[in-house]
């Protein structure tokens, strides 16, 4: 979005006052948030808290993608939903909660799972993407699409008592530019063997573990959107300041210390998605010739791409 020229209205100063007064946000940062659109893919244990804090902070547009409906077994960790809304689509349930928290945010519903055919069309509408999904196939699809579209990706995952967080494709430079941030394929060139993939349904998940990871995704998105908000706006806000070096945050609820930061590699020179010799192209994606489910293999049918 281009640089905004209008100030906030009075109720916005009131609502956002506590973050506006911080030098890290300021009026320019708040306007950046207001003019930003963020997409949350997966409105589950990660997506619920991520959405709540992004809506609280006043992003202009929040997109929500999920094809599932609310189940009772979701409620211990998916705090936007409620017992009375079991059976409703997760997207609609979340919209009710988010709209009552902050009616100023425009919520956009996408009530089916992301597919290779729909990914570019949907993701291109947003400035930043949050991967809050729960299968390897969806993680590769989202990352590939973010690289093709030049969008930064905030990716998190959680299982049992552990969580992981990465900011990928940041800065989101074109494929082949080694100054761009690594993508999911740079870090994990090959998918894990399907028998090693444990879902939250199989392995279990502690609510606050996935909750912490989801909130940290909202935080990283806010940091990305408000970077350089204090200096005069430039036409390339994502590039004006050097990005943090790529890192992986590992959370382990029963370890001591609980958090650990790992330095990650830069872009992989032969990455299939973000290198000069990338084989993942928009055409291949939209034609359906990239079969992510087959690429990742299946033991059980993948139920949440």
């Amino acid at each position: 979005p281009s640089a905004p020229r209008w100030p906030l209205d009075k109720s916005e100063y009131k609502r956002y006052g506590r973050q506006l007064i911080m030098p890290e946000i300021g009026l320019q940062g708040q306007l950046r948030l207001k003019n930003a659109s963020v997409l949350i893919v997966g409105v589950g244990g990660l997506g619920c808290p991520a959405a709540a804090y992004l809506v609280g902070a006043g992003v202009g547009i929040l997109g929500l993608i999920d094809g599932d409906t609310v189940e009772e077994s979701n409620l211990h960790r998916q705090i936007l939903h409620s017992t009375g809304r079991v059976g409703m689509t997760k997207v609609d349930s979340a919209r009710i909660a988010l709209n009552s928290l902050n009616p100023n945010v425009k919520l956009v519903a996408h009530t089916s799972h992301l597919t290779p055919e729909s990914a570019i069309r949907i993701l291109q509408l947003y400035d930043i993407i949050l991967d809050c999904t729960d299968t390897p196939a969806s993680r590769y699809l989202i990352s590939d699409t973010c690289v093709l579209l030049g969008k930064p990706l905030v990716s998190a995952s959680a299982l049992r008592t552990e969580g992981q967080l990465m900011v990928l494709n940041n800065p989101p430079l074109r494929a082949g530019d080694s100054r761009g941030g690594p993508c999911y394929r740079c870090v994990f060139p090959k998918p894990p063997p399907p028998e090693s993939v444990v879902t939250c349904g199989d392995g279990g998940i502690l609510g606050p573990v996935v909750g912490v990871m989801g909130i940290l995704q909202a935080l990283e998105a806010i940091k990305l959107l408000t970077r350089n908000a204090q200096p005069p706006l430039t036409s390339e806000p994502m590039l004006a300041q050097p990005s943090d070096p790529p890192s992986l945050l590992i959370f382990s609820a029963y370890a001591n210390p609980m958090f650990r930061s790992i330095r990650l590699r830069t872009r992989k020179p032969k990455c299939a998605a973000c290198s000069a010799q990338a084989s993942v192209t928009a055409k291949a994606l939209e034609s359906g010739s990239l079969d992510y489910v087959q690429f990742c293999g299946t033991v059980n049918p993948v139920d949440a791409l």
């Binding site: 997966g42 589950g44 244990g45 990660l46 997506g47 991967d131 809050c132 999904t133 729960d134 299968t135 390897p136 993680r139 998190a156 995952s157 959680a158 299982l159 049992r160 552990e162 969580g163 992981q164 870090v187 994990f188 060139p189 090959k190 998918p191 894990p192 063997p193 028998e195 090693s196 993939v197 444990v198 879902t199 939250c200 392995g203 998940i205 996935v210 992986l248 590992i250 382990s252 370890a255 650990r260 930061s261 790992i262 330095r263 990650l264 590699r265 992989k268």
Partner: protein, 116 residues
């Protein structure tokens, strides 16, 4: 292997494979000992030797072994989806399998998580 002391840690579910989060090498406990090659004077211990030693502990339990290492091209390759970190840095920054273990090193194997 001289006086090299280092540690191997597991995260993201791999701790279940080896029954614990952290193994000091050499270990106080007999059952945690891993087999490392006898080195000649001047020869150095490499990360691939440590991976071989860890894999040997899973021998006979094929389903588990495959979650840690795969293939057999002279030495094991770490299963896709596992990040290897040396002193909190991606091993791709450090030389991967050929990295020479230093005393005090922390080697961490992290399995990527997919839940959400």
């Amino acid at each position: 292997m001289g006086n090299i002391k280092f540690s191997v840690e597991f995260s993201g579910g791999l701790q279940d494979l080896f029954g614990q989060k952290k193994i000091p090498i050499p270990s106080d406990k007999n059952e945690d000992q891993i087999q490392l090659p006898k080195l000649l004077p001047g020869e150095s211990l490499k990360l691939k030797h440590v991976i071989d030693g860890l894999a040997a502990k899973l021998k006979g339990r094929n389903a588990k072994l495959k979650l840690f290492v795969q293939g057999d091209k002279g030495f094991y390759e770490v299963t896709p989806g596992i990040l290897v970190l040396i002193n909190d840095s991606d091993w791709e920054l450090e030389g991967e399998y050929e990295y020479e273990i230093q005393s005090g090193d922390q080697v961490l194997f992290v399995s990527t998580l997919h839940g959400g």
